[in-house]
């Protein structure tokens, strides 16, 4: 209850008009920044930090919190409408979201993303308020060995993303894993596949690859179809009553909640982060979907937007758990928040709640406030955003190309990135042309380095003894759960087949897949 009283005190601070104004400024900026590809929340915090020097600590921290949550909201808009993810956590949203937009359901996709973000953000902030210390103790138990186990789970769930042709899916995944190898090896500081070029030394940014594959590849593909006939303008759903139909609510609420409970724990794990959470959420929604809805995956299923969008917002709150309670920054954005705190002589860490309790609770309270503001701000904007899609395709796609190139340039402010964007974009065009799925490539790019580094760290600590990988209790539990679930799902599938052969009317239903919870 002490926490509750402290939180109420936090609200008393955060709801003062001047702080509300700061929160508004923060969320506006964050949304604007989230929309731009290339400039993620981490970079915007870094660029804005000097401007906040003139603010007192509470105001500055509230602005940062606004930017942080706002960035998570904003990222979905361009993913859905333009197939141009703004940061790595909204890559997955583009998979189904953009298909929905093309089918004229852009407004529904944006609405479910906004409401899902709000629901997840609020629940996750409640979890942050009351569970932070407990979760933090658990989170440090996730070391390299446990991480390897989690990554194996992630790779297996992601199998769902491989698409209809296993072989092509694996080829795409392998390509992603290969691109992930480029750059300086984290464990030995040796360069790999950089051809001695300093511009490749840091590898290729995953957002760059995603924008190239999704946006540039698609723009080229659309251009290649232009001569095949007149171009249709994408239809747009009517008034706001059509945004979320009854069925959309029915199909969205479970993914929102599942996304929250997938995103929050993954966010709290050191070296977790929102992007992994979105993949796991997407994969589980796809597996859990039934009948008609399952067939929509790949063609614009609302669950595929609702789940990942909730997951990335919940993960954003989760990331604050190790940051505030242990002083461990698990993402680039969290590292920037840490720097921001330090500027004001506030050291996030085990003593933070004791030494700067009032400020921390004001921060947490302003997360609630910011979340509500974002919903109020974003829902009315949905109607305006979707109008973008009424631009004739030729103009729309040339605009997307400019936008993508600008975003690529702003990742590091080097023209080399624009060239890389175009090369991968052309590649993306051919992948699309010959029916190779692009999602697995991005998955490989994100999960590959985590898996590799954690596996090598595990083996370095155990001096090459592979038994260490399964001897940790947490990791062992994960593997056992994984085996049980797989065995169960095979058994269920067999039962189901027997069942179906006797009863033709039965609706198809897949195996229970709880491995996500592992």
């Amino acid at each position: 209850m002490d926490n509750f009283l402290a939180l109420m005190d936090g609200f008393a601070v955060a709801t003062q008009p001047i702080y509300l104004l700061y929160a508004l400024g923060g969320v506006l900026l964050g949304t604007a920044v989230g929309v731009l590809p290339g400039i993620g929340p981490a970079m915007s915090l870094a660029l804005l930090m000097p401007i906040t020097y003139s603010l007192e600590p509470t105001a500055a921290i509230i602005v940062f919190a606004g930017i942080y949550y706002g960035g998570m909201y904003g990222g979905s808009t361009t993913s859905i409408l333009l197939n141009t993810p703004g940061e790595s956590a909204s890559i997955v949203t583009a998979l189904e979201g953009n298909k929905m937009a093309k089918a004229g359901r852009g407004a529904s996709a944006l609405a479910t993303a906004a409401i899902g973000s709000f629901v997840a953000g609020t629940i996750a902030t409640v979890l942050l308020s009351f569970l932070a210390p407990v979760v933090a103790v658990f989170a440090v138990q996730i070391g390299p060995v446990e991480y390897v186990a989690l990554m194996i789970v992630a790779f297996l769930t992601v199998g769902a993303l491989l698409g209809s042709s296993m072989l092509r899916g694996l080829a795409s995944l392998g390509l992603g894993l290969f691109i992930a190898l480029m750059g300086v090896d984290a464990l030995t500081a040796q360069q790999r596949y950089t051809f001695g070029s300093p511009f490749l030394a840091d590898g290729i940014d995953v957002v760059l690859v995603a924008v190239a594959l999704f946006a540039v590849g698609e723009a080229l593909y659309v251009a290649s179809r232009l001569r095949h006939g007149p171009i249709k303008v994408i239809p747009v759903t009517g008034g706001w009553t059509k945004w979320m139909r009854k069925e959309d609510w029915k199909r969205s609420w479970k993914p929102w909640l599942r996304g929250t409970f997938i995103g929050f724990p993954i966010g709290t794990i050191p070296a977790g982060g929102a992007d992994v959470a979105t993949f796991v959420s997407y994969a589980s929604e796809r597996k859990l979907a039934r009948g008609e809805n399952k067939l929509q995956f790949g063609k614009g299923a609302i669950e595929g937007v609702a789940g990942p969008e909730s997951a990335n917002n919940a993960a954003a709150a989760g990331v604050l758990v190790p940051l505030l309670t242990l002083g461990i920054p698990t993402t680039a954005t969290a590292a920037m928040m840490l720097v921001a705190f330090q500027r004001y002589q506030i050291q996030p860490g085990p003593l933070l709640f004791e030494t700067n309790g009032a400020l921390v609770w004001a921060l947490i309270a302003s997360l609630y406030v910011g979340n509500l503001m974002l919903l109020v701000l974003n829902l009315p904007l949905v109607g305006i955003w979707v109008k973008i899609l009424q631009i004739p395709r030729a103009y729309l796609y040339s605009g997307i190309l400019v936008f993508a190139a600008l975003g690529a340039f702003s990742v590091n402010f080097t023209p080399i990135d624009v060239i890389i964007l175009l090369i991968i974009g052309v590649f993306g065009f051919f992948m699309r042309r010959y029916g190779y799925p692009i999602a697995p490539m991005v998955v490989g790019l994100i999960l590959g380095p985590i898996f590799e580094n954690q596996l090598r760290r595990s083996l370095a600590i155990s001096q090459g003894d592979p038994i260490a990988l399964i001897s940790s209790p947490v990791a062992a539990t994960i593997y056992v759960a994984l085996i049980v679930i797989f065995a169960l799902s095979f058994w269920l599938r067999r039962r189901q087949r027997q069942f179906e052969s006797t009863d033709i009317d039965s609706t198809p239903s897949g195996p229970a897949n709880d491995e996500v919870k592992a």
Binding site: L24, G25, I39, L47, Q190, P198, A271, G327, P329, G349
Partner: protein, 335 residues
Amino acid sequence: MKIDRTTARRSTFTSLALVSALALSACGSMTESTQAGGEEGGIEELNIVVPADPGGGWDQTGRAMQKDLQDTELVSNASVVNVGGAGGTNGLAQLATETDPNTLMVMGYVMVGAVETNNAASRIEDTTPIARLTEEPLVVVVPADSPHQTIDDLLADIEEKGQGVSITGGSAGGADHILAGMVLKDAGIAPDSLNYIPYSGGGESLAALLGNKVNAGISGVGEYAEQVKAGQLRALAVSGSEPAPQMPEVETLSDQGIDVVLTNWRGVVAPGSIDEAKAEELTALVTELHETDAWKATLETNNWGDAFLAGDEFDTFLDEDITTVKQTLTDIGLL
């Protein structure tokens, strides 16, 4: 909480300004070098190249310099350009082609190592050293329930178990890794006994320490200070020549009989192409900056140690540092 009207008004203004700020800052960091017209006295326009993405230590140093130089009117206009990547060697490559003599590039200990491990074409020796400005010592820690009470305990354990003792810290070939190599060498332990587990930063390595996944850790004093204070980590030694202000009770390595002093220092260099007069002018500018109250306040707020060293002394220091780093990187098998 009461806010008097003028502050309130100013704060309102600031929050409005924030909204337009992003665009401005983005432009600011993209600003191309503007040629300063051949003025004789004083530097009108100064370019500060930050060889890293916004946010890190070099960026903070560059932006603090920009602010203080402008606030104290030592230069009328200073702009910061971020050229990130490859441990700063991308920035170094850019500096090599810089034609504007009024250019300073932030750099530091990490770049010395990165040039070697990346086998970079442009080297620090090709630049004109101007001054060293700040430093932060490193600290060697163990988890609270580790049996090791002193640095000798830890070293004895490494001598006995070799790679069975794992040490974590920041990226491979960085200051943390190099310190581990130097300490082992001084203690007469074979360098291949070092089992170093790198993370992308000291902050991330914390999780491995708090979860007891590794035996010891090395990072900047600032990154572990809070956990040491809370009793979750035990600091065994700091790497400066004197105890660190954040943990004054922790003895230095030299006090404990290990003849190693290593601080993560940061400084500035100018393009190699400038003439002697320009080098002196830039050195004088940085020296003046160092003496301002604004800079002293900057050091204070950021917990940066004052490590000012200019001209030939900095030049000599840099040469020595490059030699030691190269030797250590070879010893620990990275070169």
